[in-house]
Protein backbone atom coordinates (compact mmCIF):
# COMPACT_ATOMS: atom_id res chain seq x y z
CA UNK A 1 0.00 0.00 0.00
CA UNK A 2 1.28 3.44 -0.87
CA UNK A 3 1.48 6.15 1.76
CA UNK A 4 -1.34 8.65 2.03
CA UNK A 5 -0.29 11.94 0.40
CA UNK A 6 -0.70 15.34 2.02
CA UNK A 7 -2.29 17.77 -0.40
CA UNK A 8 -2.69 21.41 0.56
CA UNK A 9 -5.04 23.58 -1.50
CA UNK A 10 -4.86 27.36 -1.15
CA UNK A 11 -8.24 28.94 -1.83
CA UNK A 12 -11.83 27.72 -1.61
CA UNK A 13 -13.27 29.13 -4.83
CA UNK A 14 -14.75 27.00 -7.59
CA UNK A 15 -11.43 25.35 -8.53
CA UNK A 16 -10.05 24.77 -5.03
CA UNK A 17 -13.29 23.45 -3.51
CA UNK A 18 -14.00 21.17 -6.47
CA UNK A 19 -10.49 19.74 -6.40
CA UNK A 20 -10.70 19.10 -2.65
CA UNK A 21 -13.96 17.20 -3.15
CA UNK A 22 -12.52 15.10 -5.97
CA UNK A 23 -9.58 13.57 -4.10
CA UNK A 24 -10.34 10.13 -2.58
CA UNK A 25 -9.94 10.13 1.21
CA UNK A 26 -8.13 6.77 1.30
CA UNK A 27 -5.30 8.13 -0.86
CA UNK A 28 -5.07 11.76 0.25
CA UNK A 29 -5.08 13.91 3.35
CA UNK A 30 -6.64 17.06 1.98
CA UNK A 31 -6.25 20.44 3.67
CA UNK A 32 -7.94 23.50 2.20
CA UNK A 33 -6.89 26.95 3.42
CA UNK A 34 -9.23 29.88 2.79
CA UNK A 35 -9.06 33.36 4.24
CA UNK A 36 -12.79 33.83 4.77
CA UNK A 37 -14.29 30.37 4.72
CA UNK A 38 -16.84 31.11 1.99
CA UNK A 39 -17.29 30.07 -1.61
CA UNK A 40 -18.68 32.88 -3.78
CA UNK A 41 -20.62 32.48 -7.00
CA UNK A 42 -18.95 35.51 -8.58
CA UNK A 43 -20.85 35.49 -11.92
CA UNK A 44 -23.90 36.65 -9.97
CA UNK A 45 -22.31 40.07 -9.38
CA UNK A 46 -23.52 40.89 -12.91
CA UNK A 47 -27.15 40.43 -11.81
CA UNK A 48 -26.67 42.32 -8.56
CA UNK A 49 -25.24 45.23 -10.56
CA UNK A 50 -27.64 45.30 -13.52
CA UNK A 51 -30.85 43.66 -12.21
CA UNK A 52 -30.65 44.58 -8.54
CA UNK A 53 -30.72 40.92 -7.55
CA UNK A 54 -30.39 40.13 -3.84
CA UNK A 55 -30.00 36.38 -4.30
CA UNK A 56 -27.47 34.89 -1.87
CA UNK A 57 -24.07 34.73 -3.57
CA UNK A 58 -22.06 32.70 -1.10
CA UNK A 59 -22.05 29.45 0.85
CA UNK A 60 -19.91 28.49 3.82
CA UNK A 61 -17.14 26.11 2.85
CA UNK A 62 -18.17 23.79 5.70
CA UNK A 63 -21.46 23.23 3.90
CA UNK A 64 -19.94 22.34 0.52
CA UNK A 65 -16.71 20.49 1.37
CA UNK A 66 -16.76 16.74 1.91
CA UNK A 67 -16.28 15.66 5.53
CA UNK A 68 -12.75 14.36 4.98
CA UNK A 69 -11.45 17.77 3.87
CA UNK A 70 -9.71 19.69 6.66
CA UNK A 71 -10.59 23.39 6.45
CA UNK A 72 -8.25 26.04 7.84
CA UNK A 73 -9.63 29.58 7.87
CA UNK A 74 -6.54 31.70 7.61
CA UNK A 75 -4.58 33.83 5.19
CA UNK A 76 -1.55 32.34 3.47
CA UNK A 77 1.26 34.90 3.45
CA UNK A 78 4.09 32.94 1.84
CA UNK A 79 4.84 29.75 0.01
CA UNK A 80 8.25 28.12 -0.43
CA UNK A 81 8.09 25.72 -3.34
CA UNK A 82 11.69 24.51 -2.92
CA UNK A 83 11.35 23.61 0.78
CA UNK A 84 7.68 22.66 0.47
CA UNK A 85 6.02 24.77 3.12
CA UNK A 86 3.27 27.36 3.39
CA UNK A 87 3.24 30.12 5.97
CA UNK A 88 0.03 31.42 7.51
CA UNK A 89 -0.58 34.94 8.79
CA UNK A 90 -0.12 33.73 12.39
CA UNK A 91 3.40 32.53 11.53
CA UNK A 92 2.51 28.85 11.52
CA UNK A 93 4.11 26.74 8.79
CA UNK A 94 2.43 23.79 7.09
CA UNK A 95 4.36 21.18 5.10
CA UNK A 96 2.96 19.38 2.09
CA UNK A 97 3.64 16.61 -0.40
CA UNK A 98 1.63 18.45 -3.05
CA UNK A 99 0.33 22.00 -3.16
CA UNK A 100 -2.32 23.49 -5.41
CA UNK A 101 -2.64 27.27 -5.58
CA UNK A 102 -6.25 28.21 -6.28
CA UNK A 103 -6.10 31.65 -4.72
CA UNK A 104 -7.93 33.50 -7.49
CA UNK A 105 -7.35 37.06 -8.60
CA UNK A 106 -7.66 40.42 -6.85
CA UNK A 107 -8.71 43.78 -8.21
CA UNK A 108 -6.07 46.52 -8.21
CA UNK A 109 -7.45 49.97 -8.99
CA UNK A 110 -4.19 51.69 -7.99
CA UNK A 111 -2.66 50.92 -11.38
CA UNK A 112 -4.65 53.67 -13.08
CA UNK A 113 -4.74 57.22 -11.74
CA UNK A 114 -8.19 58.36 -10.77
CA UNK A 115 -9.74 54.91 -11.11
CA UNK A 116 -10.13 54.38 -7.37
CA UNK A 117 -12.20 57.57 -6.98
CA UNK A 118 -14.34 56.61 -9.94
CA UNK A 119 -14.99 53.12 -8.58
CA UNK A 120 -15.89 54.48 -5.14
CA UNK A 121 -18.41 56.79 -6.77
CA UNK A 122 -20.10 54.49 -9.29
CA UNK A 123 -19.30 50.97 -8.04
CA UNK A 124 -18.03 47.94 -9.93
CA UNK A 125 -19.15 44.36 -10.52
CA UNK A 126 -15.80 42.58 -10.07
CA UNK A 127 -15.27 42.70 -6.30
CA UNK A 128 -18.22 42.23 -3.95
CA UNK A 129 -21.97 42.61 -3.54
CA UNK A 130 -21.74 46.01 -1.91
CA UNK A 131 -19.86 47.48 -4.88
CA UNK A 132 -22.17 45.72 -7.34
CA UNK A 133 -25.19 47.25 -5.58
CA UNK A 134 -23.52 50.61 -6.02
CA UNK A 135 -23.59 49.98 -9.79
CA UNK A 136 -27.32 49.26 -9.47
CA UNK A 137 -27.79 52.61 -7.70
CA UNK A 138 -25.73 54.34 -10.39
CA UNK A 139 -27.99 52.88 -13.08
CA UNK A 140 -31.11 53.93 -11.20
CA UNK A 141 -29.88 57.48 -10.73
CA UNK A 142 -28.81 58.34 -14.28
CA UNK A 143 -31.59 60.24 -16.05
CA UNK A 144 -29.67 61.82 -18.92
CA UNK A 145 -26.23 61.97 -20.53
CA UNK A 146 -23.62 59.32 -21.17
CA UNK A 147 -23.36 56.01 -19.32
CA UNK A 148 -19.90 54.71 -20.10
CA UNK A 149 -18.88 51.08 -19.65
CA UNK A 150 -15.14 50.71 -20.16
CA UNK A 151 -12.61 47.89 -20.11
CA UNK A 152 -9.51 49.31 -18.43
CA UNK A 153 -7.21 46.32 -18.70
CA UNK A 154 -7.13 42.99 -20.53
CA UNK A 155 -6.45 41.01 -17.34
CA UNK A 156 -9.87 40.62 -15.80
CA UNK A 157 -12.21 37.80 -14.88
CA UNK A 158 -14.76 36.57 -17.39
CA UNK A 159 -14.05 37.91 -20.91
CA UNK A 160 -17.75 38.39 -21.84
CA UNK A 161 -18.62 40.31 -18.66
CA UNK A 162 -17.83 43.85 -19.88
CA UNK A 163 -20.14 43.49 -22.89
CA UNK A 164 -22.73 41.72 -20.76
CA UNK A 165 -22.75 44.82 -18.56
CA UNK A 166 -23.31 47.08 -21.58
CA UNK A 167 -26.12 44.86 -22.91
CA UNK A 168 -27.91 44.72 -19.55
CA UNK A 169 -27.42 48.45 -18.97
CA UNK A 170 -29.02 49.22 -22.33
CA UNK A 171 -31.93 46.88 -21.53
CA UNK A 172 -32.42 48.65 -18.21
CA UNK A 173 -32.26 52.15 -19.73
CA UNK A 174 -34.78 51.16 -22.42
CA UNK A 175 -37.11 49.56 -19.88
CA UNK A 176 -37.17 52.88 -18.01
CA UNK A 177 -38.04 54.74 -21.20
CA UNK A 178 -34.79 56.70 -21.10
CA UNK A 179 -33.27 55.58 -24.41
CA UNK A 180 -33.64 59.05 -25.89
CA UNK A 181 -31.93 60.73 -22.96
CA UNK A 182 -29.22 58.28 -21.88
CA UNK A 183 -26.57 57.10 -24.32
CA UNK A 184 -24.81 53.82 -23.46
CA UNK A 185 -21.17 53.86 -24.62
CA UNK A 186 -18.86 50.82 -24.57
CA UNK A 187 -15.10 51.49 -24.65
CA UNK A 188 -12.44 48.83 -25.11
CA UNK A 189 -8.69 48.68 -25.81
CA UNK A 190 -9.26 46.10 -28.57
CA UNK A 191 -9.93 46.62 -32.28
CA UNK A 192 -13.53 45.46 -31.70
CA UNK A 193 -15.92 45.00 -28.77
CA UNK A 194 -15.25 41.28 -28.21
CA UNK A 195 -11.54 40.44 -28.50
CA UNK A 196 -11.97 36.99 -30.11
CA UNK A 197 -12.99 37.78 -33.67
CA UNK A 198 -15.50 34.98 -34.44
CA UNK A 199 -17.55 35.74 -31.32
CA UNK A 200 -17.38 39.44 -32.14
CA UNK A 201 -19.12 38.69 -35.44
CA UNK A 202 -22.03 37.35 -33.40
CA UNK A 203 -22.27 40.07 -30.76
CA UNK A 204 -21.13 43.34 -32.35
CA UNK A 205 -24.13 43.56 -34.75
CA UNK A 206 -26.46 43.11 -31.76
CA UNK A 207 -24.68 45.90 -29.92
CA UNK A 208 -25.05 48.22 -32.92
CA UNK A 209 -28.70 47.25 -33.44
CA UNK A 210 -29.45 48.26 -29.84
CA UNK A 211 -27.81 51.65 -30.32
CA UNK A 212 -24.88 51.07 -27.97
CA UNK A 213 -22.02 53.30 -29.09
CA UNK A 214 -18.72 51.46 -29.54
CA UNK A 215 -15.30 53.03 -28.94
CA UNK A 216 -12.46 50.71 -29.95
CA UNK A 217 -8.72 51.13 -29.29
CA UNK A 218 -9.27 52.97 -26.02
CA UNK A 219 -6.55 51.84 -23.60
CA UNK A 220 -7.39 53.69 -20.40
CA UNK A 221 -4.43 55.75 -19.22
CA UNK A 222 -6.00 57.82 -16.44
CA UNK A 223 -9.28 59.24 -15.17
CA UNK A 224 -9.99 62.83 -14.19
CA UNK A 225 -12.91 62.26 -11.79
CA UNK A 226 -13.58 65.97 -11.24
CA UNK A 227 -13.90 66.71 -14.94
CA UNK A 228 -15.65 63.37 -15.60
CA UNK A 229 -13.21 62.52 -18.35
CA UNK A 230 -11.18 59.41 -19.22
CA UNK A 231 -8.02 59.60 -21.30
CA UNK A 232 -6.39 56.81 -23.27
CA UNK A 233 -2.79 55.86 -24.05
CA UNK A 234 -3.75 56.43 -27.70
CA UNK A 235 -4.44 60.09 -26.87
CA UNK A 236 -8.25 60.09 -27.02
CA UNK A 237 -10.69 61.31 -24.40
CA UNK A 238 -14.15 60.24 -23.35
CA UNK A 239 -16.58 62.28 -21.28
CA UNK A 240 -19.16 60.57 -19.09
CA UNK A 241 -21.98 61.33 -16.73
CA UNK A 242 -21.62 57.94 -15.03
CA UNK A 243 -18.99 55.28 -15.66
CA UNK A 244 -18.63 51.61 -14.78
CA UNK A 245 -15.08 50.43 -15.32
CA UNK A 246 -13.76 46.88 -15.52
CA UNK A 247 -10.71 47.22 -13.26
CA UNK A 248 -7.25 45.64 -13.68
CA UNK A 249 -6.79 42.32 -11.91
CA UNK A 250 -3.65 40.97 -10.26
CA UNK A 251 -2.69 37.66 -8.68
CA UNK A 252 -3.33 36.89 -5.01
CA UNK A 253 -0.99 38.87 -2.80
CA UNK A 254 1.32 36.30 -1.31
CA UNK A 255 5.06 35.90 -1.25
CA UNK A 256 6.57 33.21 -3.44
CA UNK A 257 9.93 31.50 -3.08
CA UNK A 258 11.50 31.34 -5.59
CA UNK A 259 10.27 34.75 -6.74
CA UNK A 260 10.44 34.03 -10.46
CA UNK A 261 7.38 31.74 -10.52
CA UNK A 262 5.07 34.75 -10.97
CA UNK A 263 4.67 37.30 -13.75
CA UNK A 264 4.70 41.09 -13.27
CA UNK A 265 1.02 41.05 -12.19
CA UNK A 266 1.47 38.30 -9.61
CA UNK A 267 -0.06 35.47 -11.66
CA UNK A 268 1.71 32.12 -11.32
CA UNK A 269 3.56 30.74 -14.35
CA UNK A 270 2.63 27.18 -15.19
CA UNK A 271 2.45 24.59 -17.92
CA UNK A 272 -0.78 25.10 -19.86
CA UNK A 273 -1.40 21.36 -20.29
CA UNK A 274 -0.76 20.09 -16.74
CA UNK A 275 -0.97 23.27 -14.59
CA UNK A 276 2.36 22.36 -12.96
CA UNK A 277 4.10 25.47 -11.68
CA UNK A 278 7.19 26.27 -13.75
CA UNK A 279 10.07 24.11 -12.50
CA UNK A 280 8.11 22.04 -9.95
CA UNK A 281 6.55 18.56 -10.17
CA UNK A 282 4.66 18.74 -6.87
CA UNK A 283 3.10 22.20 -7.17
CA UNK A 284 0.15 23.29 -9.31
CA UNK A 285 -1.87 26.44 -9.94
CA UNK A 286 -5.46 26.41 -11.20
CA UNK A 287 -8.08 28.98 -12.16
CA UNK A 288 -7.71 32.77 -12.05
CA UNK A 289 -4.43 32.60 -10.08
CA UNK A 290 -2.50 31.22 -13.04
CA UNK A 291 -0.70 33.06 -15.83
CA UNK A 292 -1.66 30.33 -18.31
CA UNK A 293 -3.07 31.95 -21.48
CA UNK A 294 -6.70 30.94 -21.01
CA UNK A 295 -9.76 32.94 -20.05
CA UNK A 296 -10.16 33.64 -16.33
CA UNK A 297 -13.49 31.90 -15.82
CA UNK A 298 -15.12 29.35 -13.56
CA UNK A 299 -15.23 26.73 -16.29
CA UNK A 300 -11.45 26.95 -16.66
CA UNK A 301 -11.00 26.40 -12.92
CA UNK A 302 -13.55 23.56 -13.01
CA UNK A 303 -11.77 21.71 -15.86
CA UNK A 304 -8.29 22.38 -14.52
CA UNK A 305 -9.32 21.06 -11.08
CA UNK A 306 -10.38 17.77 -12.62
CA UNK A 307 -7.15 17.47 -14.64
CA UNK A 308 -5.00 18.15 -11.56
CA UNK A 309 -7.06 15.66 -9.50
CA UNK A 310 -6.41 13.01 -12.14
CA UNK A 311 -2.67 13.82 -12.30
CA UNK A 312 -2.49 13.51 -8.49
CA UNK A 313 -4.20 10.13 -8.78
CA UNK A 314 -1.45 9.01 -11.15
CA UNK A 315 -3.15 9.51 -14.50
CA UNK A 316 -1.65 11.16 -17.56
CA UNK A 317 -4.29 13.91 -17.84
CA UNK A 318 -4.02 17.10 -19.90
CA UNK A 319 -6.00 20.32 -20.29
CA UNK A 320 -7.61 21.13 -23.61
CA UNK A 321 -7.90 24.85 -22.87
CA UNK A 322 -11.67 24.58 -23.29
CA UNK A 323 -13.74 27.64 -22.54
CA UNK A 324 -17.50 27.66 -22.25
CA UNK A 325 -18.38 31.14 -21.10
CA UNK A 326 -22.08 31.96 -20.92
CA UNK A 327 -22.72 35.35 -22.51
CA UNK A 328 -25.85 37.29 -21.50
CA UNK A 329 -27.00 39.51 -24.38
CA UNK A 330 -29.94 41.05 -22.54
CA UNK A 331 -33.69 40.59 -23.23
CA UNK A 332 -33.41 36.90 -22.25
CA UNK A 333 -30.92 36.04 -25.00
CA UNK A 334 -27.63 34.26 -24.51
CA UNK A 335 -24.75 32.57 -26.27
CA UNK A 336 -21.59 30.73 -25.20
CA UNK A 337 -17.97 31.50 -25.97
CA UNK A 338 -16.69 28.06 -26.89
CA UNK A 339 -13.13 27.29 -28.00
CA UNK A 340 -9.98 25.44 -26.94
CA UNK A 341 -6.23 25.29 -27.59
CA UNK A 342 -6.84 23.57 -30.92
CA UNK A 343 -9.96 25.24 -32.32
CA UNK A 344 -10.63 28.99 -32.37
CA UNK A 345 -13.79 30.39 -30.81
CA UNK A 346 -16.99 29.28 -32.53
CA UNK A 347 -19.69 31.61 -33.92
CA UNK A 348 -22.28 30.16 -31.58
CA UNK A 349 -25.68 31.71 -32.29
CA UNK A 350 -27.67 33.42 -29.53
CA UNK A 351 -30.99 32.06 -28.32
CA UNK A 352 -33.18 31.93 -25.22
CA UNK A 353 -32.23 28.36 -24.29
CA UNK A 354 -28.58 29.40 -23.85
CA UNK A 355 -29.68 32.09 -21.44
CA UNK A 356 -31.83 29.62 -19.53
CA UNK A 357 -28.81 27.32 -19.28
CA UNK A 358 -26.83 30.14 -17.71
CA UNK A 359 -29.58 30.59 -15.12
CA UNK A 360 -29.87 26.83 -14.56
CA UNK A 361 -26.15 26.61 -13.94
CA UNK A 362 -26.42 29.30 -11.25
CA UNK A 363 -29.05 27.11 -9.57
CA UNK A 364 -26.95 23.93 -9.51
CA UNK A 365 -23.52 25.52 -8.94
CA UNK A 366 -22.98 24.57 -5.29
CA UNK A 367 -24.36 21.09 -5.79
CA UNK A 368 -21.85 20.60 -8.60
CA UNK A 369 -19.01 21.74 -6.31
CA UNK A 370 -20.09 19.40 -3.54
CA UNK A 371 -20.81 16.33 -5.69
CA UNK A 372 -18.59 16.60 -8.78
CA UNK A 373 -18.83 12.85 -9.33
CA UNK A 374 -22.63 13.08 -9.70
CA UNK A 375 -22.49 15.99 -12.15
CA UNK A 376 -19.53 14.74 -14.21
CA UNK A 377 -21.65 12.61 -16.57
CA UNK A 378 -23.89 15.61 -17.36
CA UNK A 379 -20.99 17.99 -17.93
CA UNK A 380 -18.94 15.40 -19.82
CA UNK A 381 -21.79 14.82 -22.24
CA UNK A 382 -22.36 18.57 -22.61
CA UNK A 383 -18.66 19.23 -23.28
CA UNK A 384 -18.55 16.34 -25.78
CA UNK A 385 -21.67 17.50 -27.62
CA UNK A 386 -20.39 21.07 -27.78
CA UNK A 387 -16.78 20.23 -28.65
CA UNK A 388 -15.55 23.27 -30.62
CA UNK A 389 -14.23 21.13 -33.50
CA UNK A 390 -17.76 19.76 -34.01
CA UNK A 391 -19.51 23.11 -33.56
CA UNK A 392 -17.08 24.71 -35.98
CA UNK A 393 -18.44 22.51 -38.77
CA UNK A 394 -21.98 23.60 -38.01
CA UNK A 395 -21.60 27.30 -37.23
CA UNK A 396 -18.16 28.22 -38.61
Amino acid sequence: MTAVKNVVIIGGGAGGAMLANRLPSDEFNVTLIDKEGYNYYLPWLLYVAFKGSRREMKRSLESILKPNVRLIKSTVTAINLSDKWIELINGKRINYDYVVIAAGADVDDSKINGLHDLMVRYGNYYTNEENALKVWRTLNSIKEGTLLIAVSDPKHRCPPSPMEGAFLAEEFIRSRGLSDKVKVVFATPYPRPYPAEPMNEVVEPIMRERGIEIVNFFTLDYVEPNKQVMRSLEGDELKYDAAIVVPPHVGARLKYYPEDVIDSDGFVLADKLTNRIKGFDDAFVIGDASAVPVAKTGVTAHLEASVVARILMGEDAKNSGRTNCPFDLGYGLGTFVIGDYYTPVVKYPPNKINHMMKMAFAAIYWDMIKYPELWDPIFDSFFDATNPSILKRIYG
Binding site: D153, Y190, F217, T219, E234, G235, P293, Y341
Partner: protein, 78 residues
Protein backbone atom coordinates in the same frame (compact mmCIF):
# COMPACT_ATOMS: atom_id res chain seq x y z
CA UNK B 1 18.84 40.82 -34.21
CA UNK B 2 16.72 43.21 -32.19
CA UNK B 3 16.45 42.13 -28.59
CA UNK B 4 12.94 42.16 -27.11
CA UNK B 5 12.37 43.88 -23.76
CA UNK B 6 9.56 41.44 -23.12
CA UNK B 7 8.15 38.44 -24.89
CA UNK B 8 4.47 37.63 -24.79
CA UNK B 9 3.61 34.05 -25.60
CA UNK B 10 0.00 33.98 -26.79
CA UNK B 11 0.28 30.74 -28.76
CA UNK B 12 -2.83 28.62 -28.45
CA UNK B 13 -4.82 31.53 -27.05
CA UNK B 14 -8.04 31.84 -29.02
CA UNK B 15 -10.26 33.29 -26.33
CA UNK B 16 -9.95 36.08 -25.38
CA UNK B 17 -7.25 36.25 -28.09
CA UNK B 18 -3.63 37.36 -28.55
CA UNK B 19 -4.59 41.02 -29.00
CA UNK B 20 -5.43 41.08 -25.26
CA UNK B 21 -1.85 40.06 -24.44
CA UNK B 22 -0.47 42.81 -26.67
CA UNK B 23 -2.66 45.44 -25.00
CA UNK B 24 -1.51 44.17 -21.62
CA UNK B 25 2.15 44.47 -22.64
CA UNK B 26 1.45 48.01 -23.99
CA UNK B 27 -0.04 49.05 -20.64
CA UNK B 28 3.01 47.77 -18.78
CA UNK B 29 5.55 49.17 -21.25
CA UNK B 30 7.87 52.15 -21.22
CA UNK B 31 8.91 54.30 -24.18
CA UNK B 32 11.50 52.50 -26.28
CA UNK B 33 10.51 49.00 -25.09
CA UNK B 34 10.47 46.27 -27.67
CA UNK B 35 7.62 43.79 -27.34
CA UNK B 36 7.71 40.41 -29.02
CA UNK B 37 4.36 38.63 -29.42
CA UNK B 38 4.08 34.99 -30.46
CA UNK B 39 0.65 33.82 -31.59
CA UNK B 40 -1.09 31.09 -33.54
CA UNK B 41 -4.47 32.80 -33.93
CA UNK B 42 -4.91 33.68 -37.64
CA UNK B 43 -6.66 36.98 -36.99
CA UNK B 44 -3.68 38.33 -35.09
CA UNK B 45 -1.79 39.54 -38.17
CA UNK B 46 -4.58 41.92 -39.15
CA UNK B 47 -5.18 42.95 -35.56
CA UNK B 48 -1.59 43.87 -34.91
CA UNK B 49 -1.46 46.00 -38.06
CA UNK B 50 -4.69 47.79 -37.18
CA UNK B 51 -3.36 48.32 -33.67
CA UNK B 52 -0.10 49.80 -35.01
CA UNK B 53 -2.06 52.19 -37.27
CA UNK B 54 -4.18 53.38 -34.35
CA UNK B 55 -1.52 53.65 -31.64
CA UNK B 56 1.32 54.93 -33.85
CA UNK B 57 3.83 52.45 -32.45
CA UNK B 58 6.40 50.86 -34.72
CA UNK B 59 6.13 47.41 -36.25
CA UNK B 60 9.71 46.21 -36.65
CA UNK B 61 8.83 42.78 -37.91
CA UNK B 62 5.80 40.62 -38.66
CA UNK B 63 6.30 37.13 -40.00
CA UNK B 64 4.54 33.79 -40.13
CA UNK B 65 6.34 30.46 -40.09
CA UNK B 66 4.77 27.02 -39.69
CA UNK B 67 1.49 28.53 -38.55
CA UNK B 68 3.21 30.66 -35.94
CA UNK B 69 3.09 34.45 -36.06
CA UNK B 70 5.83 36.59 -34.58
CA UNK B 71 5.43 40.34 -34.19
CA UNK B 72 8.14 42.65 -32.95
CA UNK B 73 6.94 46.08 -31.85
CA UNK B 74 8.80 49.14 -30.61
CA UNK B 75 6.83 51.37 -28.25
CA UNK B 76 7.26 54.95 -29.42
CA UNK B 77 3.84 56.38 -28.52
CA UNK B 78 2.06 56.32 -25.22
Amino acid sequence: MTQATRTVDARGLSCPGPITELVKAYRNSKMGDIIEVLATDEGFKQDVQAWIRKTGNELIELKEENGEIRALIRIVKR
